[in-house]
Amino acid sequence: MLAPVAATHSPHARDVFDVQCQDCGALLHLAPHQRTATCLYCRSPAIVTRPSDPNRPRPRFALAFVLPPEAAVARAQAWQRSLSWFRGASIRTAPISELQPIYSPAFLYSAVARSSYRVEIGENYVTGSGDSRQTHTEWRPLVGNHAAFVRDVLVSASRGIPNQELDHVEPYDLRALHRYTPALISGWPAEEPSQTPESVWASARAEAMQHVAQYLHAFMPGDTQRGLQYNSKLDYESLDLVLLPLWVLPVRVAPGAPPLRLLVNGQTGRVYGPAPLAWQRVIGVVLGALALLLGLMLFLMLLLGALAA
């Protein structure tokens, strides 16, 4: 049962809403990127629906959290343990138990891709026999068309989680997709899309073109191929907002530097974290090794000199 409650614009910022908790009466502030809130005093969850805006579409689908917090922490700790000593201490010692769940917005893109291509196909043939047997390649030009559906391209709609980082924790099992309902996100932090559909089109098309390139390379006959050139057109495009479950841990590596994020797929448990090299340690080890080598050489020279004397 959903009980709607009026929300009021806060005077201090556009798109910030004040929501009165229906259980204890406390006033909650919702920032522009927040879709849900939980009362600090009584833990009552609330879900906000904002006025219709073409730049901020409503979610059409959602994937529910499947991975419980203990499992997410265990996966992240296993990943952390796999890091070598040369990786930054900030990420190796990050407090994994502070992983936070979030329903992150993304756009689900699909289209029809029609391509015309030109390529050289290599057909192998053999001359000679025995020791003089040689394999040669005969190159033949091929021109043709290719048509396919490009499906299930996910592009991040959050400025907080760049698309490259989302790619690292994909794939999601989209067979478990739900029609969006507030019941799925009630009590869980959920983010509003901070990228507009227009700004996402370019990323989605670029990713779709990567799929087309893979299709085309796999589509070619012959024993080998070279010089593939193609021209592709995407038709019947669709873009739908979907909420994806993620466990996130921001890690600050240096004061003033942008934080790194450790991500755990809230459905499959796939982990991604940037683990930059700790250059001080690398340089220290290299210098130490050089000093050791130098010392050894010096010792040998002294030893040889003493023996010669």
């Binding site: 959903l2 009980a3 709607p4 409650v5 009026a6 929300a7 614009h9 809403f17 229906q22 259980d23 939980t38 009552s44 969850p45 609330a46 879900i47 906000v48 629906t49 006025p51 219709s52 059409r60 689908f61 529910a64 959290f65 499947v66 419980p68 689900l108 699909s110 057909e123 043939y125 390649t137 005969e138 033949r140 091929l142 021109v143 043709g144 068309n145 290719h146 048509a147 396919a148 559906f149 499906r151 989209l174 067979r175 478990a176 997709l177 739900h178 029609r179 309902t181 507030p182 019941a183 799925l184 996100i185 009630s186 009590g187 589509f219 070619m220 006959p221 012959g222 019947y236 669709s238």
Partner: protein, 328 residues
């Protein structure tokens, strides 16, 4: 056509009521239009039982009330096991099936087949059953590339490409695990899909095989089967040349409709010299009978003996004779 006739706006394939996206092209299903919101509002999800605010829990995959433990129902993505929709009736009786097997055994005249097979084989078991398959209708814009011997120069192969619009009508895709792929493929052309009935008729106790795949898996399987059928059609006359290899097919499917059929067949076991052999008899068309036949070991050994004689003994004898002749 079903009462629920909603089609994908991209590929015009019919959608099931539970489909959130088109299973063929992934286009979102036409949704009910939500009224535009002119003002913001917040919602609180409340327990139907006690009225407390509730949140989603991973353990229950649904919102659960922390006070009275009530779990709220949410719409779940439906991915049920497929069930037959149509049952094709048996038109061949048990007695006919038995006679058809005898007649078929009498026609097995291969060199290695025992000559007394028809007279000595005895029927051990006869089991009428319905096995399951999908019957598809689809339009497809197919682009292809392949190697063939047409236009080859130094290499034996030359690359080719092309595109065609193909139509698939009553394409039968077996989903059975009880019959082998060869058995199902052999029987498939003889069925009359138009004769389907909503309930199994005529064989009250005949087992009905179940589709043991979920809908999402079934649809992927069907799409792959249509790609294979397209590749097969292309290789049989559309790709130039007599020999082909590396046939690659990419099909844009549209208007794909699928029916789930239960197909009547007899599975028979016959005994020949103590060994059991299996055969299948079509439940609708008596022309389709197929099975395993025993091999005559006498003939097999005879052939091996002749081959052995020709390959080993004869050259040895000839060598010996030539050696003796050269010494003389």
């Amino acid at each position: 056509m079903s009462e629920h006739d909603v089609r994908c706006t991209r590929c015009t394939s019919p959608l099931e009521p539970q489909d959130l996206r088109c299973p063929i092209c992934s286009m979102a299903a036409p949704d009910f239009d939500l009224p535009p919101q002119s003002r913001a509002f917040s919602e609180v999800l409340r327990c139907d039982g006690c009225g407390a605010a509730v949140g989603y829990t991973i353990q229950h995959q649904a919102p659960r009330c922390g006070f009275c433990n009530a779990v709220m129902h949410i719409e779940r993505p439906e991915d049920p096991l497929e069930e037959p929709e149509w049952y094709l009736p048996f038109r061949v009786t048990d007695a006919q099936a038995s006679q058809l097997l005898s007649a078929w055994l009498a026609t097995q005249k291969g060199f290695f087949t025992p000559s007394e097979l028809a007279s000595q084989a005895t029927l051990s078991a006869l089991m009428p059953l319905w096995w399951v398959a999908w019957v598809c209708e689809a339009e497809a814009y197919v682009t292809w590339s392949a190697d063939s011997d047409a236009g080859s120069k130094r290499a034996a192969w030359a690359p080719h490409s092309g595109s065609h619009s193909l139509t698939f009508r009553s394409l039968l895709i077996p989903a059975t695990r009880g019959l082998t792929y060869d058995e199902a493929s052999f029987l498939a052309p003889g069925f009359d899909p138009a004769s389907g009935e909503r309930t199994p008729q005529g064989r009250a106790h005949a087992p009905i095989e179940r589709f043991d795949v979920q809908r999402s898996v079934a649809r992927n399987f069907i799409i792959q089967a249509i790609h294979r059928a397209a590749a097969s059609q292309l290789a049989n006359g559309m790709i130039p040349g007599r020999r082909t290899r590396n046939v690659r097919v990419s099909a844009l499917l549209s208007s794909l409709t699928t029916r789930r059929l239960a197909l009547p067949t007899y599975v028979l076991a016959y005994r020949y010299r103590g060994e059991l052999y299996r055969a299948v008899v079509h439940g609708q068309d008596p022309r389709y009978v197929w099975g395993r036949t025993p091999k005559s070991y006498k003939k097999l050994w005879l052939v091996l003996g002749i081959v052995g004689f020709v390959v080993v003994v004869l050259p040895t004898l000839l060598t010996f004779v030539m050696l003796v002749a050269s010494n003389l």
